[in-house]
């Protein structure tokens, strides 16, 4: 049942249904616009108004309770549409007007801003464009909003959507649109699966229902399928699936269900609703021309405020929501009871997601032409948001209560290195790096690793210090929060962190290890290795990758960043500290090396080098001597050989002579 209002029209009291009145007003504006071109248009208009008032009054006198939409349609049929007059006029006045008749279709194609109050949202730019292109104003509005939002998201210095709108606002003339076809979105009661949203959309956009259904259903199916498969695109499926789900719910909430045949005609945009109700107009708006100028200033100022709020507020909400879900694991470990978990997530969802949903709903309602505020929706959103705030407060208070006390406890391990170099390595050498398809969320998720029974938290911080003595040792300091000192102490002991020392190598766990039934209370471990300045400590790359602060690491290693070392703690300062010479071995692929060398060491090295040089010189000399004596010996041998030869020859000669003497004697 439509609301009935009382109007005073041409000094007659008329009871009329609200939608019929809207229709009537629009018709009257069309007539006024048409006859304004006529010579004595005002007079004609007054006559017609009197006549229309008379017709309406007659109708009421005949027994109707109020004027209905049908009555107005009938009235329009009697008086006629301006488009019909057009035809009559120009054919009657023959040749002189023929040219203008010719131009009539072109005149219709002019671009203007729509002057009809109930067909425009801001300045009638979108509605005018829609008339020009003969498309639905809602389509144009959605395009404008999308362009604006995308522009906002990409942080251009100017906004194409808003700029275009303002330029068109300034440039285009304002006119009453003819042949308005208005369209209203309904949920289809005749063909529905869940709530008739899809088939309503299909009717609205004149598409097959199954197309719209698949647009909503496919991302959801991908989501379900992908979450149980090894494929990597589940992120896409998840976000799109949930987006479509949210859109469906929003449309379900804001769209009325089509019941009457008029509703169905509106839904399809059929011509019966030449000028339908988009904006219920109450009695006061009869004199609207006088009031609207002052009202519109405040209206646009309010719009401006809302837009600024949206630009700032909505991305903030998105950001918080995004971070909350990225840190899902951590939050779940901190919120130790089921109640806190439920309330915590409820708070996050309500506080951050609800405003987004509310803005979305408002925007869609506005675009779809629902200008009447919905008190039910408004109070629902408000109450839920307050619920969110209170659950958030409850969670915060109970967490603060659980983290009042802070303790630290030290445990010292003796190191008895047998060489000058100490190695620090991880107990578990494999590094797990999760790869996300869209962005690197590993910074958030690597910090914590939840298995079915245990929780690993990368709360380990490693440092090196000069021990100031000859001894080498390692201090493991545990930190924890708790309700009170006792509770905090218990919390500090509940997790396991067991380093292993084998000769010159220290094996460190890369994380602290919890049983799953314990809540995380900010537990942390700091391992400090104290070594004499003559030692070299080599920390393996593996371990460095696994440790908590790895994303603070510079090329020289996280353990010498300013964050971890401070001056009054007599820490090793890079290149500053006297007596140390810290070098990074660039050639070594696996290890960054810190060498703590004494100057003496270099001197000894130099001395050794000198000695070697001396020795070399001596060796060279000895070699030369040896060569000489070798040659001498050779000469002597040769001489002796010659002597021997000579002696042999002499002996031979004497022998021959003796033989000859013997012969002659014979």
């Amino acid at each position: 049942m439509e609301k009935i209002i009382q109007i005073n029209y041409q000094n007659r009291n008329i009871s009329i249904e609200e939608n019929a009145y809207t229709e009537f007003q629009q018709y009257e504006e069309e007539l006024k616009n048409y006859f304004s071109k006529e010579e004595s248009g005002d007079e004609i208009m007054t006559d017609l108004k009197n006549r229309m008032a008379e017709i309406l009054e007659e109708k009421l006198n005949a027994g109707s309770a109020a004027i209905t939409l049908e009555d107005i349609q009938q009235l329009k049929a009697n008086i006629g549409n301006p488009s019909d007059f057009d035809q009559d006029e120009h054919t009657s006045t023959s040749s002189t007007n023929e040219e203008s008749t010719k131009q009539a279709p072109f005149e219709k194609k002019r671009l203007f801003r729509n002057k009809f109050k109930n067909e425009r949202v801001i300045a009638g730019v979108c509605s005018g464009l829609a008339h020009y292109f003969s498309i639905d104003p809602i389509a144009v509005r959605i395009i404008f909003v999308l362009v604006t939002l995308f522009n906002m998201a990409s942080f251009f210095s100017f906004n194409l959507g808003i700029l275009t709108y303002i330029i068109l606002w300034v440039v285009l003339p304002q006119e009453y649109a003819k042949n308005n076809i208005s369209h209203k979105l309904f949920r289809n009661s005749k063909d529905k699966v869940v709530a008739g949203v899809c088939s309503g959309l299909a009717q609205f956009f004149n598409l097959e229902t199954w197309i719209i259904r698949s647009i909503f259903l496919v991302p959801l199916l991908i989501h379900i399928f992908a979450s149980h498969s090894p494929f990597k695109f589940h992120f896409l499926g998840t976000s799109l699936g949930s987006l479509m789900f949210v859109i469906y719910i929003v449309l379900w909430i804001i769209t009325p269900i089509a019941k009457s045949s008029t509703d169905f005609m509106l839904l399809k945009g059929e011509p019966i609703n030449l000028s339908t109700i988009q904006n219920p107009i109450s009695m006061q708006t009869v004199n609207r021309d006088a009031k609207s100028t002052t009202n519109s200033f405040f209206k646009y100022f309010a719009y401006l405020l809302i837009i600024v709020a949206l630009i700032v507020f909505i991305p903030t909400c998105f950001g918080f929501l995004f971070v909350s879900f990225l840190t899902f694991n951590i939050a779940n470990v901190i919120l130790h009871t089921a109640l806190l978990k439920t309330l915590g997530w409820l708070a996050i969802t309500l506080i951050f997601a609800l405003p987004i949903l509310a803005v979305l709903t408002w925007l869609i309602r506005k675009l779809a032409g629902f200008n009447r505020p919905s008190p039910v929706l408004r109070s629902m959103f408000f109450i839920l948001w307050i619920v969110g705030i209170f659950s958030g407060l409850f969670v915060a208070v109970s967490l603060i209560n659980n983290m009042k006390a802070f303790v630290k406890s030290d445990k010292t391990y003796n190191l008895n290195p047998t060489s000058d170099t100490l190695y620090v390595k991880p107990i578990n050498p494999t590094t797990t790096t999760s790869q996300n398809v869209f962005f690197d969320a590993s910074n958030f998720n690597d910090v914590i690793n939840v298995t079915t029974t245990d929780i690993d938290i990368k709360g380990v911080d490693l440092r090196c210090k000069a021990s100031g003595a000859d001894s080498a040792y390692m201090v493991v300091r545990r930190y924890s929060f708790g309700k009170n000192a006792e509770d905090a102490n218990q919390n500090a002991e509940v997790f396991s962190f067991e380093p292993r020392i084998e000769g010159n190598t220290i094996y460190l766990p890369n994380s602290i290890h919890f049983p799953k039934n314990r809540a995380y209370r900010g537990q942390n471990v700091r391992v400090t290795i104290y070594v004499p300045t003559t030692k070299t400590v080599i920390i393996s790359e593996d371990l460095k990758k696994q440790l908590k602060y790895r994303f603070n690491a510079n090329k020289r290693g996280f353990y010498v960043s300013s964050r971890d070392f401070d001056e009054d703690d007599d820490m090793i300062h890079f290149g500053k500290h006297k007596g140390f010479n810290i070098t990074i071995d660039e050639d070594d692929e696996n290890d960054d090396v810190i060498r703590m060398k004494d100057r003496e060491k270099a001197e000894i090295q130099e001395e050794i080098n000198e000695n070697i040089q001396d020795a070399n010189v001596e060796l060279e000399e000895a070699k030369r001597n040896l060569e000489d004596s070798k040659r001498e010996a050779q000469r002597q041998i040769e001489d002796a050989q010659k002597e021997l030869d000579r002696a042999q020859k002499e002996a031979q000669r004497k022998l021959d002579e003796a033989n000859r003497k013997l012969e002659s004697k014979k």
Binding site: N11, R12, D47, L48, N50, R51, E54, G80, S92, T101
Partner: protein, 116 residues
């Protein structure tokens, strides 16, 4: 447009040309209220939209053929009743003569058609 001859166009041209003649004829009988004029025309088979009738009356009035006066009505504001002026009567007689001429001419031609 001027060359195209279609039935709609000719029909409405014929109708429109005779409309003013008919209206003047009705008002010539005495004071008339526009909606009564429309009703009578409709009854006789000459459809006219009131949105077309009012501009037509105004134009005839501006040309000096018609005049009007306000007549009190029961339970409403006064209504505008149209009357014929002297020049209107003269104009009507001209139209009347033309119509008699044309209609007898047309009648003669059509009768020949029918007798064949």
């Amino acid at each position: 447009m001027s060359t195209a001859i279609n039935t709609d166009n000719i029909q409405s041209q014929m109708k429109k040309g005779l409309l003013e003649y008919c209206i003047l004829s009705i008002i010539g009988r005495g004071e008339a209220y526009p909606s009564d004029i429309a009703a009578e025309l409709k009854e006789a088979g000459m459809q006219i939209l009131e949105g077309t009738l009012y501009p037509l009356l105004t134009r005839l009035k501006n040309s000096g053929y018609l005049d009007y006066r306000w007549v009190e009505s029961t339970g409403g504001p006064p209504r505008k009743y149209f009357t014929m002026t002297d020049s209107g009567k003269e104009f009507y007689h001209q139209l009347d003569a033309t119509w008699t001429e044309i209609s007898s001419a047309v009648q003669k031609i059509i009768q020949k058609n029918q007798s064949n």
